[in-house]
């Protein structure tokens, strides 16, 4: 008995010394802070859900979850909205609340939790929750979402990001291989003149936009703005006028990124081009005879043929997927999809192949990427996969296991104690 009391005292004094050592963490471990943060999280989810109707899922994610704070305007259609709508309300963002929750939980872990067998379940539950939060952060930072379109009977070895474009130059002079040089959106957004040893010329960015309206300029009038400077390529032959447009975050939004750029050989200008990125992938330009060259605008320099295109950011894979067959089924008498199915062959390195059926909720997993059935057009004989790469995909599973073990431990511990106590009380005197 006295041994038990000594051990308990020793553990309490260990907690006391930790609290002294990390005194600055004590206010951060406050349960009030936890409750405040959880309440704010609920407000954040509520506001983002309302805003999702207006700006779409991606817009709400960017504005409220992938930021430190977001600005919300009380909806006009709500009671008193005509007066309150004008007031901008700052809402703490996902990064701020998530970060503070991690700090709060970690501080509590250090300054309040006793590392005893009795409390081990609580520790594991909290550790699991911390891992969930960190896992979400890792997903935000590292997850990449792309698409892969394959025509029936053909194969594809690259994926294209849903968001973000790149200016790609391809030297196609040699028949067997082509050299590709890509300039990412970040650099295009910065503007200025781009020099790289991989290109024999310089690129002067004149105007870049993530979305635009493009129209054929009526005869007798001049192209507007920077489009008037275009004197080479499709922009000139199709006589296109470009009007800048805000990025459309809605799920149906089609963003045509555009770039007006000049190519310089030393100080000599080779001309100014316009390039447009098709939101569904630049192969779609081929459907439009006048604009088909947007997929490959030729530039000849020093006896070499380069093709330039502004396209969705592309990643080449060391393997390819061949589409053998597709099938889509609908609920009888409706246009509600019942099943989309792609019969594919995965052509891997060393001539290895693997046949697979990809359909709703049954993706193909290979080399760290997951290929989900995304879209299909049976009439046009093609399928589109949504390709997800998430190196942190395992963290939520580990977190859930930790929380489950913690709960099991905690309840079992108390159950055993309760049963013991009961059996002791039941013993006849």
């Amino acid at each position: 008995m006295s041994k038990d009391i000594n051990t308990r005292k020793k553990r309490k004094s260990s907690l006391g010394s930790r609290r002294k050592k990390f005194a600055w963490l004590v206010p951060l471990a406050s349960i009030r802070l936890t409750l405040t943060l959880l309440s704010l999280s609920m407000i954040l989810i509520f506001v983002a859900t309302l805003e999702q109707v207006r700006i779409g899922i991606r817009g709400a994610l960017a504005e409220y979850f992938e930021s430190m704070f977001g600005i919300w305007h009380y909806p006009e259609q709500f009671w008193g909205g005509e007066f309150l709508h004008v007031i901008p309300l700052p809402i703490p963002g996902g990064y701020l609340l998530g970060g503070l929750l991690i700090v709060n939980l970690t501080a509590a872990y250090i300054t309040r939790f006793q590392w005893t067998g009795k409390k081990m379940g609580i520790q594991l539950i909290h550790l699991g929750i911390i891992m969930l939060l960190v896992g979400q952060l890792a997903t935000q930072a590292m997850q990449e979402e792309s698409r892969m379109q394959i025509n029936k009977g053909e194969s594809s070895n690259y994926i294209e990001r849903f968001h973000g474009v790149e200016l790609a130059f391809s030297d196609v002079t040699v028949p067997s291989t082509q050299k590709v040089v890509t300039i990412p959106q970040d650099i295009l957004e910065d503007g200025g003149t781009v020099r790289t040893v991989d290109l024999p010329f310089k690129i002067k960015v004149k105007k870049f936009g993530v979305n635009c309206d493009f129209t054929v300029t009526p005869q007798g009038s001049n192209r507007e703005g920077h489009a008037n400077e275009v004197n080479r390529g499709v922009g000139q032959t199709a006589n296109l006028t470009i009007r800048d447009k805000e990025e459309d975050f809605s799920s149906e939004g089609l963003n045509f990124g555009y770039l007006i750029f000049e190519i310089l050989d030393g100080t000599k200008s080779l001309g100014t081009w316009l390039s447009l990125a098709h939101p569904g992938g630049n192969h779609w330009w081929k459907q439009s005879p006048k604009l088909s060259d947007f997929a490959f605008q030729p530039i000849r320099h020093d006896g070499r043929l380069w093709g330039v295109t502004l396209r969705s950011e592309r990643e080449y894979l060391p393997y390819s997927i061949e589409l053998i067959d597709i099938e889509n089924e609908f609920y009888q008498g409706t246009e509600i999809p019942f099943n989309f199915e792609s019969d594919i062959v995965l052509n891997m390195e060393k001539n290895q192949t693997r046949q697979a059926l990809v359909y709703m909720n049954t993706p193909l997993r290979h080399a760290g990427k997951t290929f989900y059935q995304y879209q299909m057009n049976a009439a046009a004989d093609y399928t589109v996969f949504q390709v997800i790469r998430n190196p942190s995909w395992l963290i939520p599973y580990i977190a859930c296991i930790l929380v489950s073990i913690g709960l099991l431990w905690q309840f079992s511990f108390h159950l055993v104690r309760f049963l013991r106590k009961n059996s002791n009380n039941a013993k006849p005197a």
């Binding site: 990064y95 970060g99 991690i102 970690t106 872990y109 590392w115 067998g117 081990m120 520790q123 594991l124 550790l127 911390i130 891992m131 939060l133 960190v134 952060l137 890792a138 935000q140 930072a141 590292m142 391809s170 196609v172 002079t173 040699v174 028949p175 067997s176 291989t177 082509q178 050299k179 590709v180 040089v181 890509t182 300039i183 990412p184 959106q185 970040d186 650099i187 781009v194 790289t196 991989d198 005869q219 007798g220 004197n231 080479r232 032959t237 001309g271 005879p289 088909s292 490959f296 030729p298 000849r300 020093d302 006896g303 070499r304 043929l305 093709g307 080449y316």
Partner: protein
């Protein structure tokens, strides 16, 4: 038990460190320029070249032209050299007639072509070499040198249109330019189609072969149509002055408006113009509810009236040229003719 605590402590601190790194990573990541090689995906035709120092590039590229150049001289840019890739193996006679017509030559037969053509071996490749002279005006020094290269069912045409002396002095440069070219046939269909034989001339007031119809002034005298000319008429006055009227049609835009207008200006002794100077000679008109361009150019002795219309990727040229005074008289008849043009 102690081991369990140690492990949970370790995981906790690792988690904190990882989350810190992730925050830094997500805020600071900036993508770089990438360069890599892939197996060739491009299956279109490849045409590249290196220009001689004395040549300059014309920016007004359009239609089937893959390149367009001029010779830099003290008097400014002179001549016109082009690169035209064709999808098919084009008949040399058709090509020669296409250019010969513009030089006022009568239809060239296969036998006649043999006399004015030769095979030149340049850097191991065989080019068909055809030299055509201007027959439309006496004393004209304009000429066309055509170089044709054929490979795997495709044809590359390099026309050099200039003064005879300029062509002669630039022949070596032309050869070195041809030697520098990389010419590779494409696997996919490209827009630059071969100038297929034109449809037979449409009958007056009929709706044959879905070609256009028109009304010809009764005093215009019909001449024999050729493989290139869909319709050919002559107008004469009592003084013996003549006008030549023709209707021609080609796939694509045959080098674009500037190239065609400049070629016509040269035929009536007017200097070539740049894109800005084009406005002096062209104005928009409507032909059969379609946007078209009317060309009016009046030289010292000769004039030219023409209309250029592009319908479904095909260029139509309606042109009357000849004596300046007679052209003025016939101008209203020509405009009435344009009004009557109807595509069905």
């Amino acid at each position: 038990m102690l081991l369990g605590f140690k492990i949970s402590q370790f995981i906790l601190f690792q988690t904190v460190i990882v989350s810190g790194c992730l925050l830094l990573f997500s805020c600071g990541e900036k993508k770089e320029i990438q360069s890599y090689e892939i197996p060739s995906e491009y299956d279109g035709p490849v045409v590249t070249w290196e220009l001689p120092d004395q040549w300059g590039e014309n920016p007004d590229l359009s239609g089937p032209m893959a390149g367009s150049f001029h010779v830099k001289t003290e008097l400014g840019p002179m001549g016109r050299i082009g690169v035209m890739p064709f999808r098919e193996s084009v008949s040399s006679t058709d090509v020669a007639n296409m250019f010969g017509m513009e030089l006022g030559q009568s239809t060239i037969s296969d036998d006649e072509l043999k006399k004015i053509s030769e095979i030149k071996l340049i850097e191991g490749r065989e080019f068909e070499w055809i030299l055509l002279s201007d027959k439309s005006h006496e004393g004209s020094t304009r000429a066309v040198l055509l170089a044709l290269f054929r490979d795997k069912g495709e044809t590359w045409l390099f026309p050099f249109i200039a003064d005879h002396d300029l062509i002669k002095s630039q022949t070596r440069n032309f050869e070195s330019f041809l030697a520098s070219t990389t010419l590779r046939a494409g696997a996919i269909e490209i827009r630059a189609k071969a100038p297929a034989l034109p449809p037979p001339p449409p009958a007056h007031h009929t709706h044959q072969n879905q070609g256009p119809t028109w009304d010809i002034p009764s005093h215009w005298v019909k001449r024999e149509a050729s493989s290139v000319r869909l319709a050919s008429y002559e107008v004469k006055d009592v003084n013996g002055s003549t006008l030549d009227f023709s209707v021609t049609s080609f796939p694509g835009d045959v080098g674009g408006i500037l190239a065609n207008v400049n070629r016509w200006l040269g035929q009536i002794g007017i200097d070539s113009v740049e894109q800005d100077g084009l406005k002096k000679y062209i104005s928009p008109i409507i032909l059969d509810d379609k946007d078209a361009q009317l060309v009016i150019a009046e030289g010292t002795t000769d004039s030219l009236y023409a209309a250029i219309l592009v319908v479904e990727g095909r260029s139509w040229f309606f042109k009357i040229t000849g004596d300046r005074t007679l052209a003025k008289v016939e101008k209203s008849n020509f405009l009435s003719f344009l009004d009557s043009v109807c595509f069905h």
